[in-house]
């Protein structure tokens, strides 16, 4: 179940909590890095591979929620498990809405923490895969010519070749050539796959006339 390659970052201003939580995670086989403050964590480069952040809500300086906002401003996916001293409902709602994986109330058991961390690592793994995929699609999109991009947009919005030819003022045969190049460059086997990729890359379909 555990992924020895995964890294858990623990951020807490309390030294003994930091030490004991680190111990629990290490005993479960995780690579653990501990930070006494949000600033220290932000200044540290992240290791490659799946990871998650165990974050105390109440910290002097940079609170847990502020750190969450700073992390999501970066593009890489990050999975956060919050730990809070008090079961503070408004704070936990905000944290979960902002994408936290879990919200534990101190004192928590080792099992609760490890469960949450496993889930967070799993989420991060899939998030990273998705992130990787969409990055690949974006890279492929960069290789299209402007005309090809125009044809792609028309195709994913479900228009026929004849309609596309009329809209763009080119011959239907030319549309077919562009379309074949788009399919090849995007490595799509079918129009359905092309549509999925376009959605993933956020290519908005132009409004139908």
């Amino acid at each position: 179940m555990s992924k020895p390659s995964a890294t858990v970052y623990v951020v807490d201003d309390d030294a003994s909590v930091l030490k004991s939580v680190g111990r629990v995670l290490r005993s479960a086989g995780f690579g653990v890095e501990t930070f006494p403050s949000g600033q220290a964590f932000l200044a540290h480069p992240l290791a490659p591979g799946p990871s998650c952040v165990v974050l105390d809500v109440r910290m002097p300086g940079f609170t847990g929620l502020e750190l969450q906002a700073a992390l999501s401003a970066r593009k890489e996916p990050v999975a956060i498990v919050f730990i809070s001293g008090a079961a503070d409902v408004p704070v936990s709602v905000r944290a979960m809405k902002a994408g936290a994986v879990d919200f534990l109330t101190k004192p928590h058991t080792a099992e609760d923490l490890l469960d949450a961390v496993h889930r967070a690592i799993a989420r991060n793994t899939s998030d990273q895969a998705a992130h990787e995929r969409s990055a690949a699609i974006s890279r492929r999109l960069q290789t299209l010519t402007p005309r090809e991009a125009e044809v792609l947009a028309q195709v994913v919005s479900g228009r026929l070749n004849k309609q596309i030819a009329g809209t763009l003022g080119i011959s239907e045969k030319t549309v077919k050539v562009h379309r074949a190049r788009v399919m090849a460059k995007m490595r799509a086997d079918s129009v359905a796959e092309l549509v999925r990729m376009a959605q993933m890359a956020g290519v908005a379909a132009p409004l139908p006339r």
């Binding site: 004991s20 111990r23 002097p60 730990i83 008090a86 004192p107 080792a110």
Partner: protein
């Protein structure tokens, strides 16, 4: 009044009997004045006229060896023609002289003595017609009380003069102290020149208890009244002075278990009246008049002693003047007008016997009115906890004045529950009221009182048929006549005041009943005030608790956080250790480290809990010498977490080696906590987010705690109002915090005030008097 006719042979032509008041000492001594006044007043109250002869032997002031011989010759010629019905011998030297000269000078008249200690210098021969009132010098009890007040006291100094009476007092003290097992290092300054005594007292270390006997004459032969020597010694002494008698109160002694010469006089007069009625003096057992713990509030304050250390039942006199003092003087002025009227009437009606009865009645009425005004002013000045004693005192005085054998105060409500006898006084020689008396036996009496009506009966068979149960109950208690009036306050029934006679049947004329109701009103006021103040005190305690709990609420989140940290660490560490052991991966050094961490975190959690407990405890105050810096640090430890979360800082600037203050740690923590929380709240929007708590000693020697913030300050007009209850500027505030804080500081004898800092923000300062300056 009901006094038996005197033997005709011994009365003068006007029917008056001859009483010789024979004082051992000078007439100007306060004790002598007290005795004399009490005896004469008592006679007036009893409606008995006597012809008083007075002799003051001046034994301690006169030093000529031939003095006594001359005196005898003089007295022999003076009393040759006067039969004496009784000799009242006052003081041991007065008694000794009376015993020696009774046959020779005073026609073998019976003797009633007072102000003599049983262990003292006089031997009573059996068969001699002598009785009297024993006096006690409670030196050991006074020293015991002094040790409670001055727990750090190391030595005891007893001071006494060179006059014979002085020596007798010093011997009494020595004897009494020898009986107690006190371990104080004790020395006697006896028979020295007053100047030397003064210098000795001026160089005493403050951890000394000084017990002042009597100094009527010093080692240089100079003579003083007790107060004159006190006036010289008291200002010079560097340690608190305790005394033997109430005459020293208000003149420089802290107090003690003190002789009350007025009481002695009252008891003496009662014995004299019995002898005059024909009872043989040798058949009357001497009575004793117990002393009372009496203390002077201003001396207690002056020496930095604490009233809470006084023995239970202490009477505290000489409090700072209150608004009621003015009232008392009005009452006394009214009494003086009546007295003047009385004197005028006396002058006009002097010759007529019939009128003399009016004079006696008037004097008696005056005595009663003086008693009532005195009683009401005394009760009015007492604080709630002392009122119970004050009422008991008053009950006795009223019952004695009205010459009944039993008096009681009952707490009563219109409903059936809650009937409680709170005070009973029974005359000496009468069986006390059994504690098992069930007020419900008196159904008819209680019914009348509950419906707001009085009852009275001159004989048991005057009680109506429906009161058969009551009659039997009264008969079992030996009551022969009785009266009871309901007590109401604010239109509400609160109790009853009852009187009963045991030895005789007594009629209750309307005039007497209205007097009893008048006195009842005085008691009712005191009782309702006592109840109100008790309730107020309970409320104050609750408010203090509320204040503490409110601060707690504000702090709860921060404390939960503080507690959770170690708990989280402990749980995690324990579970890791468990897993390691289960998987067989545990190695001893690692486990040892984990366990050490668990222990450290557990300690940390314990500290948090201890601090928490100290704050929520709802207890009575406990005043102990403490270091205010430690209290400040307690509070800082408690708020630092909260401040950090709010991005504020709390700094301290403590002056070390401050004198200790006498205080309740929890209450002082609460005061500082309140000021600090206010300061933190005030800096919510401030740029400079530092709060400073500093301690120092001011020019007057008081310990100061100063809490300064960088908030927006306090509007100038609000600097005073913020201390008023329910004045608040915070949306969630109750407005009680500063009001409670101020009342707590003031209850410690300090002051709390607010000012705005020139550089912005507010500064709260409170002072506390140092504990150790004199007492420790």
């Amino acid at each position: 009044m009901a006094v038996g006719a005197p033997p005709a042979a011994l009365a003068d032509s006007a029917g008056r009997q001859n009483v010789l008041l024979l004082y051992g000492e000078s007439r100007v001594l306060p004790a002598v004045l007290d005795l004399d006044e009490a005896i004469r007043t008592r006679f007036a109250q009893a409606g008995v006229e006597a012809r008083f002869f007075t002799e003051y032997l001046d034994r301690s002031w006169a030093s000529d060896p031939h003095y006594l011989g001359h005196l005898r010759a003089f007295l022999r010629s003076k009393y040759r023609e006067h039969d004496l019905n009784v000799i009242v011998a006052l003081g041991p030297l007065g008694l000794r002289f009376a015993l020696d000269s009774r046959s020779d000078l005073f026609h073998r008249a019976p003797i009633v003595f007072a102000a003599v200690t049983p262990a003292g210098a006089v031997r009573l021969e059996p068969g001699t017609p002598v009785t009297g009132v024993w006096m006690t010098t409670d030196a050991a009890l006074t020293v015991a009380a002094a040790r409670q007040l001055q727990p750090g006291a190391r030595r005891l100094v007893v001071v006494g003069g060179a006059a014979p009476q002085d020596r007798i007092f010093t011997e009494d003290i020595r004897r009494d102290l020898a009986r107690s097992q006190d371990t104080l290092e004790t020395s006697y300054l006896e028979g020295l020149p007053l100047e030397a005594v003064r210098e000795a007292l001026a160089s005493l270390p403050p951890d000394t208890i000084v017990l002042l006997g009597s100094i009527l004459r010093d080692g240089n032969g100079r003579t003083y009244s007790g107060r004159e020597s006190l006036r010289i010694l008291a200002p010079a002494s560097r340690a608190p002075l305790y005394g033997l008698s109430e005459t020293g109160i208000g003149h420089g002694i802290v107090g003690g278990r003190l002789i009350n010469f007025r009481d002695q006089g009252v008891h003496t007069a009662d014995l004299v009246l019995r002898v005059l009625r024909g009872e043989p003096a040798q058949r009357i057992a001497p009575v004793s008049s117990p002393n009372t713990f009496v203390f002077d509030a201003q001396e207690i304050a002056r020496w930095g002693l604490a009233e809470r250390d006084l023995p239970a039942g202490s009477v505290v006199l000489n409090r700072a003047p209150t608004i009621w003092t003015a009232y008392r003087w009005r009452l006394l002025a009214a009494a003086a007008v009546i007295a003047a009227e009385g004197a005028l009437i006396v002058a006009l009606l002097a010759h007529r016997r019939r009128r003399r009865r009016a004079e006696a009645a008037l004097t008696e009425r005056l005595a009663f009115e003086t008693l009532v005004s005195d009683l009401s002013s005394t009760l009015v000045e007492l604080r709630a906890p002392e009122l119970a004693i004050g009422i008991a005192h008053g009950l006795r005085r009223v019952a004695e004045h009205l010459r009944v054998e039993r008096g009681s105060i009952i707490e009563l409500t219109p409903l059936d529950e809650d009937t409680r006898i709170t005070h009973v006084w029974t005359a000496p020689g009468v069986p006390p009221l059994p504690s098992s008396v069930d007020p419900r036996q008196f159904a008819w009496v209680l019914g009348r009182l509950r419906s707001g009506e009085r009852y009275c009966f001159s004989r048991l068979d005057e009680l109506p048929a429906e009161a058969n149960g009551d009659r039997e109950a009264f008969a079992r208690l030996g009551v022969r006549s009785g009266v009871g009036v309901p007590l109401a306050a604010g239109g509400r029934l609160i109790g009853a005041f009852t009187l009963a006679t045991i030895r005789r049947e007594q009629a209750w004329p309307t005039e007497l009943l209205s007097r009893i109701e008048f006195v009842g009103g005085v008691f009712a006021t005191a009782m309702s005030r006592r109840r109100d103040e008790m309730e107020l005190q309970a409320l104050r305690r609750d408010l203090t608790h509320v204040g503490r709990v409110t601060s707690m609420g504000e702090l709860a989140a921060s404390i939960a956080h503080e507690l959770n940290q170690p708990l989280t660490a402990i749980l995690s560490n324990a579970q890791v250790a468990y897993r390691l052991i289960e998987r067989g991966e545990a190695d001893a050094p690692e486990l040892k480290e984990i366990l050490a961490d668990i222990v450290a975190d557990d300690r940390r959690a314990g500290d948090v809990i201890r601090r928490l407990r100290a704050f929520v405890k709802k207890d009575e105050t406990l005043r102990l010498p403490l270091d205010i810096n430690a209290v400040v640090q307690d509070v800082v430890a408690l708020v630092r977490g909260d401040a950090t979360v709010r991005n504020l800082s709390v700094a301290t600037g403590l002056t070390f080696a401050l004198p200790p203050v006498l205080g309740d740690r929890v209450q002082l923590q609460q005061v500082i906590l309140n000021l600090v929380m206010n300061g933190l709240d005030a800096m919510r929007e401030a740029a400079d987010r530092a709060l400073l708590i500093s301690t120092e000693v001011d020019v007057g020697g008081a310990v100061c705690v100063v809490v300064s913030d960088h908030g927006s300050g306090i509007p100038e007009g609000d600097l005073r109002r913020i201390f008023e209850p329910f004045h608040t500027t915070k949306p969630q505030g109750m407005g009680m915090g500063l009001a409670i804080a101020r009342s707590l500081v003031e209850s410690h004898g300090g002051r709390l005030w607010a000012e705005n800092r020139k550089e912005g923000g507010a500064r709260f300062t409170f002072t506390l008097p140092p504990a150790g300056a004199e007492a420790a």
